[in-house]
């Protein structure tokens, strides 16, 4: 058994995992419309390859990836493209974005899917292309395109693949359910990913509040029998152990350098859902068009884990789960610690939607007004990044960017542990988000002014250079003329010119007479 390392800080909010009854997958059914945002991942938005009126089959590409950091979008069922428009999407900003709307025909016809029987016979780069073609982005929350992630650091050897089955956010049981019901697929996907990145070791991390998932994973790993470099590890439940950097420290004792990637310490980290999506893409040839979503919270009378086609409107799911909205209803995309509040129920489920939380006002009450910070330091005790949140708060209020950076504000992972413990109910994370945005803005402004300064200086240099060249030419001409005058052996150039003119005139007269 590998030694489990402790991380600094962390909190123990009520887990509320049993509410969504993990271990059973319910079918969310086929909605009347599917709304597919072109940007369901980090990076460049996809570009539509269909037009309004086209009919599409399930699994067919409707928008292709643009550039390296991007992911395509596929039709989750057969139907007609009825619109390509700006539509509400799940995003903290609450702004609309480009979406393709499919009206399903109800027949769910699929295009022929071609899988690969033995992935070890295929070059890893070809497998990466297949992952890219399947439109897979991390299903854990951030949505980084998987094909890009496995290639992230060319030239650095990866020795370990981590499968992050921590799911430390309260309420969410999507990964738990996936591991309980489909552990074999998780392990198969992990083997493919390990083959691609060249990792010798696969570590599966599962928090100790998921004994059924842990057991299923251990059995699946043993059943596949790929030797001693495969381990399912469990560790005490603590939020945010599932943060990528935190899990790496817990399972390996290594810390990802500030500003770096896990690849810098020879690690690639993937979510179990992503592993299954990779398995489906390679072995079945099936692109990413559905996922498991936890629908939970006490405003739902049928909470549970649902298999949902991407693009399904949240309103459709809320109906399935028997939503009884309160007066001041909140709908949270993700978990209670890091999720964001939705502006509308018309937004669709996307690749990164692991949970829709509909709490009652008693369950997650509105925060009371913030009180003064007394620097009690509970936030510093809770911070998993060993920051001093109370100091960051003061500097953020003072807009002291130098001190903010000196206190490493960019190492804040916005997990919300500090805000959770703050006895004065100060929305600390919100201050940090604003401060980070301000610093980014200042940096961009500085870059812009540096660029215009460089431009101005270049122009200045060019103008001076051109002036100097002109001056040099003139001086050269002058010198040449003087040179010429000097070579004429003291003869007066003016007289010579007059003589030449006279001779020419005389010649002309002579010619005229001869005519």
């Amino acid at each position: 058994m590998k030694f489990i390392h402790n991380i600094h800080g962390g909190i123990h909010p009520p887990e509320e995992k049993a509410l969504s009854r993990p271990g059973t997958v319910l079918d969310a059914g086929l909605p009347n419309t599917l709304i597919l945002p072109l940007s369901q991942h980090i990076g460049a938005p996809a570009e539509p390859v269909v037009a309004v009126g086209d009919t599409v089959l399930g699994g067919q590409l409707v928008a292709q990836a643009t550039g390296n950091v991007s992911a395509g979008v596929h039709a989750p069922t057969s139907g007609t493209i009825t619109d390509i428009l700006m539509h509400a999407v799940p995003h903290p900003s609450g702004l609309d974005n480009h979406c393709i709307v499919i009206t399903p025909d109800g027949q769910d016809r699929w295009q022929t899917l071609v899988g690969i029987s033995d992935f070890r016979e295929i070059e890893p780069s070809a497998l990466v292309d297949s992952i890219h073609a399947a439109g897979i982005a991390g299903l854990g929350g951030a949505g980084f395109p998987t094909a890009t992630k496995v290639l992230a650091r060319a030239g650095i050897a990866i020795d370990t693949l981590l499968i992050n089955g921590t799911e430390c956010e309260p309420y969410i049981t999507a990964d738990d359910t996936l591991m309980q019901t489909n552990a074999r697929a998780v392990v198969e996907g992990a083997e493919i990913l390990a083959y691609i990145v060249g990792a010798q070791t696969i570590l599966y991390g599962v928090e100790d509040n998921k004994p059924a998932a842990l057991n299923a994973m251990q059995q699946a790993v043993t059943a596949l029998g790929n030797g001693e470099h495969r381990e399912v590890l469990t560790f005490p439940t603590k939020y945010p152990s599932g943060g990528e950097k935190q899990l790496i420290e817990i399972l390996t004792g290594k810390q990802v350098p500030s500003g770096g990637l896990p690849a810098d310490v020879g690690i690639v980290c993937q979510n179990p859902g992503t592993a299954v999506a990779v398995r489906d893409a390679i072995i079945d040839g099936k692109p990413l068009t559905d996922r498991i979503v936890t629908l939970t919270g006490r405003a739902l009378s049928q909470p549970g884990n649902y298999r949902v086609r991407l693009g399904t409107p949240v309103s459709h799911l809320l109906e399935q789960a028997n939503f009884n909205p309160g007066k001041k209803q909140r709908l949270i995309h993700g978990g209670p610690m890091m999720g964001f509040a939705l502006a509308s129920t018309s937004v669709p489920i996307i690749k990164t939607t692991n949970c829709i939380l509909a709490p009652t006002a008693e369950e997650l009450p509105e925060p009371p007004p913030a009180q003064a910070c007394i620097r009690c330091g509970l936030c510093a005790e809770a911070c998993p990044a060993s920051l001093l949140p109370q100091q960051l708060y003061w500097y953020a209020r003072a807009k002291d960017q130098e001190q903010l950076e000196k206190h490493h504000i960019f190492d804040c992972i916005e997990c919300g542990a500090c805000s959770w413990v703050c006895p004065s109910h100060i929305p600390l994370v919100q201050y940090y988000r604003a401060a980070k945005a301000n610093i980014h803005e200042t940096r961009q402004e500085r870059q812009r002014s540096d660029r215009s300064k460089a431009r101005f200086e270049a122009r200045q240099a060019r103008v001076e250079r051109e002036a100097a060249e002109r001056e040099a030419k003139r001086a050269a001409r002058k010198a040449a003329a003087q040179q010429k005058a000097a070579t004429a052996d003291g003869e007066d150039p003016v007289q010579a010119a007059i003589a030449r003119a006279k001779a020419k005139k005389a010649q002309a007269t002579l010619n005229g007479e001869s005519d």
Partner: protein, 340 residues
């Protein structure tokens, strides 16, 4: 449907600032009870009278600052300040002394800087030092403990608040005074000859300190503050006392145990230097903060003019706290030496 939009995190832990303050107040009870047992109801009357003044002041200031006073009164912070100050005042202090002290603490110590959270100094100690410098006679009039003199009843004590003649307190040199002034006696003889000395330190005082230690340990158990500052202070004080003990000679500054259980040591270690607003921020910083206070307390007690060393030591280190913070930032994740 209109949805409520709030940023994450959407949940919150159970602890509130008001609850922290209430627990601090609760933790002073053993110490107050022991003080009352040994010195009579004087401290209790200080606390009640001072608390009323403090609440009135807080209310008035918040009205002047055009804010709703209710949340500020409900956070109990001003009661913590006044209670800590009044515990430190001699019992049977006159009403004006308490009033000036509380006003200095609340107005000068806190509100001139912008209120709770903005004060660079410990407000209770600001009030205490203002009084100590302005009214040294009244501030050094500690009544003798039970066993050395009669302890007054409640009505006598109440009269003393408004009429200094009503209770003519016999005052007596405190054990810390005796130890500092001692030049001719071995420590052992001092303990035997002077009735003010008890088993480990002063009669009464040793139990008062043990009571505050008990309250402080309960706060530590409740995780209201971390162990760093109190432990560092007590260790540094003990270390200095150990070095200056001089085998118990007539030059001795007193044993570590004597210093731990004398004066305001335990009260200071667990209730004053743990004030988070005016102390150092990081755990490493709090170790340094506490250790320097412990050292200063010893030096002021043994070499200084005032026996009340804790207040001065705390204020001096309050000055230094932002400076300590600059050099004691903890290592952020991903910034340390790579570990294998």
């Amino acid at each position: 449907m209109a949805l409520l939009r709030i940023t994450s995190p959407h949940g919150h832990g159970p602890l509130t600032t008001s609850a922290i303050m209430q627990q601090v107040l609760l933790a002073t009870l053993p110490g107050i009870a022991t003080l009352t047992w040994f010195f009579g109801p004087g401290t209790l009357i200080n606390i009640l009278f001072g608390g009323a003044i403090a609440l009135a002041l807080e209310y008035a200031v918040m009205r002047i600052r055009a804010r709703d006073p209710r949340p500020y009164l409900q956070d109990f912070s001003v009661l913590v300040t006044s209670t800590l100050l009044c515990i430190a005042l001699p019992p049977y202090s006159p009403w004006w002394l308490i009033t000036v002290g509380v006003m200095s603490s609340v107005l000068l110590g806190k509100h001139v800087f912008g209120g709770l959270g903005y004060n660079p100094f410990n407000p209770a100690m600001v009030g205490y030092v203002v009084l100590l410098i302005s009214f040294p006679l009244q501030m050094s009039s500690w009544a003798p403990p039970r066993g050395l003199a009669d302890v007054p009843g409640f009505s006598d004590a109440l009269q003393a608040l408004f009429n200094a003649q009503a209770y003519d307190a016999v005052t007596m040199a405190t054990p810390l005074d005796l130890m500092r002034q001692n030049t001719g006696l071995l420590v052992e003889d001092l303990y035997q000859q002077k009735s003010q000395f008890g088993i480990w330190a002063g009669v009464g005082w040793e139990w008062v300190n043990l009571s505050f230690l008990a309250g402080g340990l309960w706060l530590l158990y409740r995780r209201i503050f971390t162990w760093h500052a109190p432990v560092a202070m007590l260790l540094a004080l003990g270390l200095c006392a150990g070095v200056g003990f001089d085998g118990g000679s007539s030059n001795s500054g007193g044993s570590p145990l004597f210093h731990w259980l004398s004066g305001a040591t335990m009260f200071g270690a667990f209730f004053i230097i743990t004030d988070p607003v005016s102390s150092a921020v990081s755990n490493k910083g709090r170790l340094i903060f506490g250790a320097l206070i412990g050292m200063l307390v010893y030096l002021i007690r043994v070499l200084g003019n005032y026996p009340d060393a804790v207040a001065f030591a705390v204020l001096i280190l309050n000055f230094a706290a932002p400076f300590i913070d600059q050099y004691t930032q903890p290592t952020t994740y991903g910034h340390g030496q790579p570990r294998e």
